[in-house]
């Protein structure tokens, strides 16, 4: 295995505006390869915004603007030669609210392969099994792969979305509060999953759950009002934070 890149994703003095709203303020951080990085912070502090910039999902929003740069393995995401579609194939994403398509479970999982023009049945079958197993869902749905995804429970739908996101083996997986709407058992399953996935993927996860961050993340970044307050290994952030604000947040003094 080659030496892992400690600045695989490099955010450099990044600012972001929704119209007049300055949502990210001069954030710089380096996200290492094949590790789990957690973003924590109170609601509205810009965690999702930064996450969505990592695969340029914010392009879909009208009236946005940015300054600074984000590089992925040394290449700027905003370089004109970057094809957004292929960027999104490299950087998969799981949303806070599960959003399966109005299709069968099977078709949901292989959506990214279908749009890439892959149609070989045997390969697709294999991908479906691998992805669903990877998302710890295979045993529950293997008998009803061709039924509508809307027949699943909330936790199952979210795991289906994870399976869908990893089906085409992206290099990076962005997860925006993937467990926010899940019960504790489903949450545990997804946390196990994250530990598994990290062997292969670089994972950035937004979470509100402190325990989750301590359990899964190698590094943790604390944001407050659009600023990156503190960014270090999870152990440091939770045990010996340098900033008072971090400590206050972790102790639950504000949320």
């Amino acid at each position: 295995m080659p030496a892992l890149n400690p600045a695989y994703i490099n955010v450099q003095d990044f600012n972001f505006w929704y119209g007049p709203k300055h949502a990210i303020k001069s954030v710089s951080m380096a996200i290492p390869e094949c590790q789990v990085t957690a973003f924590i912070g109170p609601s509205g502090c810009g965690k999702s915004t930064l996450l969505r910039n990592l695969n340029r999902m914010n392009d879909l929003v009208d009236g946005v603007r940015h300054s600074g740069d984000i590089t992925l393995n040394g290449t700027s995401l905003y370089d004109p030669s970057v094809e957004v579609i292929s960027l999104r194939k490299r950087v998969g994403m799981v949303f806070q609210k599960s959003n399966p398509f109005a299709k069968s479970i099977y078709e949901n999982v292989i959506f990214s392969l279908r749009v890439a023009g892959q149609n070989k049945k045997s390969e697709l079958d294999e991908v479906v099994e691998r992805s669903l197993a990877g998302a710890a869902l295979w045993d529950e749905v293997k008998d009803r792969l061709h039924e509508s995804a809307y027949g699943l429970s909330g936790g199952q739908m979210q795991r289906l979305c994870i399976a869908r996101a990893i089906a085409n083996r992206p290099q990076i997986l962005l997860m925006d509060e993937p467990c926010a709407a899940l019960d504790p058992i489903a949450t545990l399953k997804i946390e196990d999953l994250i530990q598994d996935l990290k062997k292969e993927f670089t994972i950035v996860i937004v979470t509100h759950n402190m325990h989750q961050a301590t359990r899964c993340a190698d590094r943790t970044a604390f944001f407050y009002l659009g600023e990156l307050v503190e960014y270090d290994t999870t152990g440091v952030i939770f045990n010996t934070p340098a900033q008072d604000r971090t400590e206050a947040y972790i102790r639950g003094l504000f949320s």
Partner: protein, 766 residues
């Protein structure tokens, strides 16, 4: 009122006012909904009640039976238009009038025949109140039995009959008694004809009289010729009929042949001899229905056929062709009376009486009466008829049949109208002449409706749907905020304005630039496709110069230039293919310029054999398309925009292009809404009236030719309703058209709703 226990604090109670308003609004809303249902249902019931009488048969009732000519042997009898004072004539020198009410005793009026001639045959032409008589000395003449209404001091009507002797013409040879007579008078020419017995043989003679018209008014009647038609006959003559056209004689012979002898030329000429019932069959009766173009023939067993005068395909002269078969009578027709208003006729055999309509081949009413019918007459208003029995009693019947020309066959089947070469679906409700057959087929109108709808949707659906997709999925929100309301304003443009534009502005432009129109319609989308492909091949850094959703800024100028180029190329295309040729196939040159004439308008009819009209389906298609586009656009755009953004985001995050997201995620979910949009657009096109009225020639033709007009059900109602007298057949038929339109939209909507429901079930969200 729920019991208010004292331990419930006041803040948990609902105030009476809120409850009252709630109850009131519930009732008001329920009332409104019920009102709408009742209103729609009421309209439906009204239309149906207007339409139902069309499908009823005739109402006939015997009103009275009076002693009329007991013990007498009347040659003819007739009746006045009020059916109060019937008369009979025995062949002598008096005409007897019998008061049908029995208030007055019978009354006779004298009749002086020239030279005291002996009348041996007579027939009655009810339309002219004319009795045609043939005398023993070979003369044919007429006398008129006319009635005048006089109003006494008390305002009571009394009918005063009078008898006026007319001209007599020697027709045959003197001395031979005349067996039967015929007389036809078209105004300009008259034909009198007779079957005469001469030396134990039967002969047919005719005279032709012409009235020369000049600037000074109608001139004198001159005798053109007296002809012995016997040599032209196929056999021994039986019956003789002279149509009111005054140019021919029809004779049946013992051999079962009808000879059609034309006198309009220089000399009598046998135009046609035909055996209406085939070999070995005898002819039982021959009669003419109103209009004198159609013959009702029965054979000796009662089989009934109608033969009409028409120019057959490939022929040059009008001859009789079998056009209809009616149900059999009990035997050969023994009496015949015709209506003077429409194609109804009363006939029968023995005691059987049958009222029939020649156009629709229907039996309107039939009954076996308790006596043998010797003769029948229908009054001039077609409101009653009278039957004469063998005992000399006159049985009077009231007749109510306001819509004999209606019926399923007339509306939806092929009908062989008089003068037409073949059965066809025709709409032609009115004409200048009285003896016209209203042609009421709804098929051309349904066809026109579908044709107009088809071309409108053909034009509108691609544009509206693509525009909706682009606006909903690709366009930036700022631009969309302008585009959407603009389209909604377009939807509210009154269709009169669009129709006016279509007729006075668009139609002339299109007429002169058809090739340009086609080139532009084909070329602009093609250019769009080519430019789109080229754009997608550009390296990402070049494409990045235009933000996604702003591509239209670059595309619109390109499209405009392309449209201009293709529009200007039209005449070039025209000069390549649209070579106008003369009758011998050589290109026509313009004498002024010496160049070959290249003109689409002239070329199209030559090349395809179908007409080119200025106000055609293309104009309607484009303009009605314009009316439909905003409707489809708005609803489809809503459906597309309502697809949850979370799903498009999921798709984009998985590396799908905008187009893939659209096709795989957005379209399936929006499909039911898009389908509704199409159906509502279709409904608008089906019911659209003003554009069609103004932008087409309103010709009820049945073809799909883009360069021909059409007449739709709704346009038909709009154009004809002002002309239709209330409760006339036409009036009710227009309501039937409305009902068909109603049914058409109802069927379409129901089918669409079922389909939409299935789509929605298939792609429903959570």
């Amino acid at each position: 009122m729920p019991p208010t226990s004292p331990d419930v604090p006041g803040r948990f109670l609902v105030s009476k006012g809120i409850l009252r308003i709630d109850r009131f609004m519930t009732a008001a809303i329920r009332l409104g909904g019920l009102g709408i249902i009742i209103a729609v249902f009421g309209i439906f019931v009204f239309i149906v009640s207007q339409v139902l009488p069309l499908f009823r048969g005739a109402k006939v009732e015997e009103t009275s039976a009076i002693p009329f000519a007991a013990g007498k042997a009347p040659l003819v009898f007739g009746i006045d238009e009020w059916a109060e004072l019937p008369f009979y004539y025995e062949g002598g020198s008096e005409v007897t009038f019998v008061d049908a009410t029995g208030a007055k005793p019978p009354q006779t009026l004298p009749l002086t025949l020239p030279g005291g001639a002996q009348v041996t045959a007579a027939s009655y032409i009810s339309a002219d109140q004319l009795v045609v008589v043939g005398t023993a000395d070979g003369q044919v003449g007429t006398f008129t039995v006319s009635y005048d209404a006089e109003f006494g001091d008390s305002g009571k009507r009394s009918i005063v009959p009078s008898v006026t002797i007319g001209e007599f013409y020697p027709v045959g040879t003197s001395g031979g008694s005349i067996r039967s007579v015929g007389y036809g008078d078209s105004g300009d020419s008259k034909v009198a004809a007779a079957v005469q017995e001469s030396g134990g043989k039967l002969e047919v003679h005719a005279v032709l009289l012409r009235q020369k018209r000049s600037l000074m008014g109608s001139g004198k009647l001159t005798k053109e010729g007296a002809y012995d038609l016997t040599p032209l006959l196929t056999g021994a003559p039986l019956q003789l009929r002279v149509p009111r056209t005054g140019d021919s004689v029809l004779v049946t012979t013992a051999e079962g042949v009808v000879d059609y002898i034309f006198l309009g030329g220089d000399a009598p000429e046998k135009r046609q001899e035909f055996k209406p019932f085939g070999e070995g069959r005898k002819i039982g009766s021959i009669d003419l229905v109103f209009g004198d173009v159609s013959l009702v023939l029965t054979d000796d067993l009662g089989e009934m056929s109608i033969f009409s005068l028409l120019v057959p395909e490939g022929g040059e002269q009008r001859v009789f062709v079998k056009t209809k078969t009616l149900p059999n009578l009990a035997g050969p027709a023994s009496f015949f009376a015709r209506s003077q208003r429409n194609k109804l006729f009363l006939t029968g055999s023995g005691a059987q009486v049958s009222l029939r309509h020649s156009t629709t081949e229907q039996v309107r009413w039939e009954k076996t009466v308790g006596f043998e019918v010797k003769g029948a007459v229908i009054d001039a208003k077609c409101a009653s008829f009278a039957l004469l029995d063998s005992d000399g009693n006159l049985h009077r019947y009231s007749l109510d049949d306001p819509h004999p020309e209606a019926g399923w066959k007339a509306y939806f089947g092929k009908v062989w109208y008089e003068g037409a070469t073949k059965p066809d679906y025709t709409w032609q409700s009115t004409s200048g002449t009285d003896d016209f057959e209203p042609k009421l087929s709804l098929r051309p109108l349904i066809h026109g409706t579908l044709k107009g709808t088809f071309w409108a949707l053909f034009f509108a659906v691609p544009i509206a749907l693509l525009a909706a997709v682009y606006t909903a999925q690709f366009l930036r929100v700022e631009v969309k905020r302008v585009v959407k309301p603009m389209m909604e304003i377009m939807a509210s443009l009154p269709s009169v304005v669009l129709g006016f534009l279509a007729a006075l502005w668009l139609a002339p432009i299109i007429e002169s630039r058809v090739p340009s129109v086609f080139l532009t319609f084909a070329g602009v989308p093609l250019t769009a496709a080519v430019v789109g492909v080229a754009w997608s091949r550009l390296p990402a850094q070049h494409r990045a110069r235009l933000r996604p959703g702003m591509e239209w800024v670059a595309f619109i100028p390109i499209m405009l230039v392309a449209a201009w180029i293709f529009w200007s190329l039209g005449p070039v295309l025209e000069s390549w293919i649209c070579v106008v040729r003369d009758a011998s196939g050589n290109p026509v040159t313009d004498p002024a310029t010496g160049r070959t004439v290249m003109d689409f308008r002239a070329w199209w009819p030559q090349a395809t054999g179908t007409p080119f009209e200025q106000r055609n389906s293309l104009v309607v298609g484009i303009m009605m398309g314009f009316a439909v586009i905003p409707v489809i656009f708005t609803i489809a755009e809503d459906a597309l925009s309502n697809v949850p953004a979370s799903l498009t985001a999921a798709s984009a995050a998985l590396g799908a292009s905008r187009w893939q997201t659209l096709r795989k995620v957005v379209l399936p979910i929006a499909s039911s809404g898009i389908f509704s949009a199409l159906m509502i657009g279709l409904g608008r096109a089906v019911g659209e009236t003003m554009i069609v009225v103004m932008a087409t020639g309103n010709t009820p033709v049945m073809d799909w030719n883009l360069f021909n007009g059409m007449r739709t059900l709704s346009a038909n109602i709009a154009t004809e309703l002002p002309e239709a007298p209330v409760h006339s057949t036409l009036y009710r038929t227009l309501f039937l058209g409305a009902l068909v339109l109603f049914a058409l939209t109802f069927l379409l909507n129901t089918a669409a709703e079922l389909l939409r429901h299935r789509l929605r079930e298939k792609y429903k969200l959570v």
